[in-house]
């Protein structure tokens, strides 16, 4: 990878939303600074956010469940939005979706209803751009591991990312990135301890 100018470089705390436009040709790098931290992420076309990341079309087109180097993130109109160009982790999930107060009540019980969750972060992040729940579609969980067996069993299990692992995506067009650095405490998706991530944008 050629060296290019750093447009943005931040350490982003757990449990907080983050949003930014990534312009065509720029690269977005997410670094799991301490390991096993799920980074819930959505992408929208920056000019027409009704066109957004489509997990199902992405999975179907690549014929694989996991995202890694070479994966092309497709939009709801079947068009490339970003391409994964580097990945030291190896597997990222796009089936498990984001945690919410509502799904937490089903999975873990009513006592979890008021715990912080990714849906809250997504709604707060989307609201900055005039978007809302209707725009909240199934997302990517960078650094989260959700294996599926041949019999169809799906589990959210211990993360496989190591401290410093990173994934890097090049924007194929101008996109709006919306991230929730996951606050989930009820399962091992964050190693039971949500931690900061690095977010870096490189010039194209």
């Amino acid at each position: 990878m050629t060296v290019s100018a750093v447009v943005l470089d931040v350490v982003h705390p757990p449990g907080e939303p983050w949003t930014s436009v990534v312009t065509a040709g720029q690269r977005l790098r997410l670094t799991d600074l301490e390991g096993t931290q799920a980074v819930d992420t959505l992408f929208y076309d920056a000019l027409d956010p009704s066109e957004r990341y489509s997990a199902a079309d992405t999975v179907r087109a690549q014929g694989k469940l996991f995202l890694t180097t070479g994966s092309v993130l497709l939009s709801s109109r079947d068009r490339p939005m970003l391409t994964v160009v580097a990945d030291t982790c190896g597997r990222h999930d796009t089936v498990g979706g984001a945690c919410s107060a509502e799904s937490n009540t089903c999975r873990f019980g009513q006592h979890t209803r008021h715990m912080h969750n990714c849906r809250d972060n997504f709604l707060v992040g989307l609201a900055r751009h005039g978007l809302g729940k209707r725009d909240l579609v199934p997302n990517i969980n960078f650094f989260m591991y959700v294996p599926v067996t041949a019999e169809g069993r799906l589990d959210i299990v211990d993360g496989i990312s190591k401290p410093g692992d990173h994934v890097e995506l090049v924007a194929n067009r101008d996109v709006l990135a919306v991230i929730s650095n996951c606050p989930q405490l009820n399962n091992p998706c964050n190693g039971w301890n949500p931690t900061p991530i690095g977010i870096t944008i490189y010039a194209g």
Binding site: A56, R91, R107, V146
Partner: protein, 269 residues
């Protein structure tokens, strides 16, 4: 009102006379949309065994609440949907319960067909100009057209259920479409746990490798089904299911205070 006799013959799957509210067969390639009220069941029949039926579902009373493939699969730890399992909304509630299923194979990972996927699979010759109403259709446009009838649009389209299709996942994460997972006459019963807005699209499964455009007809039957009797398998199968139904019943009681009959569901808890 649902009748209270557990009168459906599970062996033959015959629906008793007098309880059918709607019965329609749509041609392959077409779509169907209707509100399926709480207390009724939608039976989808794969008439020709074509092995496809893309479906989306919404809370008809509040359509921002919609089917969630992620929540459905992670709450139940299962990617294959069949009898006993639930189609959950993104609000922690149950939209539809799979109360009976002779098909057995329904998947929710692959999404629907799109204009591009259809053109790539079947070629460019499928336009209205050349084929008139035998044109190649796709789930994406069918959903836009169906949901548009209810004031919804492309923003309301999320990963759907594909009835009558099986897609397995290998240890490496590769998707494997299993041909012939359905058969002529296979059907699935989906009991509405809210007033559910359903959209169904009958184009071939997006991973079906056949190069020939061969969509099959679907029969859609809405019938007044029995009030769940204790112990209802769908309501009680797991702790997660019980909690999802507790959310659903509480919401129904709050939003339909005049309803004394359907509110009493769930007394087995």
């Amino acid at each position: 009102m649902p009748h209270t006799q557990a009168s459906q013959d599970q062996a033959t799957g015959s629906i008793p006379e007098g309880v059918v509210l709607w019965d329609e067969t749509i041609p392959g390639g077409a779509y169907w949309t209707r509100v399926v009220p709480r207390g009724t069941t939608l039976r989808v029949t794969d008439v020709a065994g074509a092995g496809a039926g893309a479906m989306l579902a919404f809370n008809a009373d509040q359509p921002s609440e919609r089917y969630s493939a992620p929540d459905t699969t992670k709450v139940q730890n299962m990617i294959f949907l069949t009898a006993g399992l639930l189609l959950l909304s993104d609000m922690g509630r149950v939209l539809l319960s799979i109360t009976a299923d002779t098909g057995g194979h329904h998947e929710t990972l692959s999404g629907g067909t799109t204009p591009l996927s259809t053109a790539r699979r079947y070629g460019e010759g499928g336009s209205y100009l050349t084929r008139r109403n035998a044109r190649y259709t796709n789930d994406r446009d069918n959903f836009v057209a169906a949901l548009g009838r209810h004031g919804l649009d492309q923003r309301d389209i999320v990963p759907n259920v594909n009835l009558f299709a099986r897609v397995e996942v290998t240890g490496a994460g590769d998707l494997r479409f299993v041909p012939g997972a359905s058969r002529p006459g296979a059907w699935v019963d989906l009991r509405a746990e809210l007033n559910v807005l359903v959209a169904v699209s009958a184009t071939p499964h997006v991973l079906d490798p056949s190069p020939e455009w061969g969509p099959g007809p679907l029969r859609l039957t809405v019938w007044e089904s029995p009030v769940p009797a204790a112990p209802d398998r769908c309501r009680t199968r797991t702790a997660e299911a019980r909690r999802a139904f507790a959310n659903t019943d509480a919401y129904w009681a709050q939003t339909h205070p005049g309803d004394t009959k359907l509110v009493s569901w769930g007394d087995e808890r």
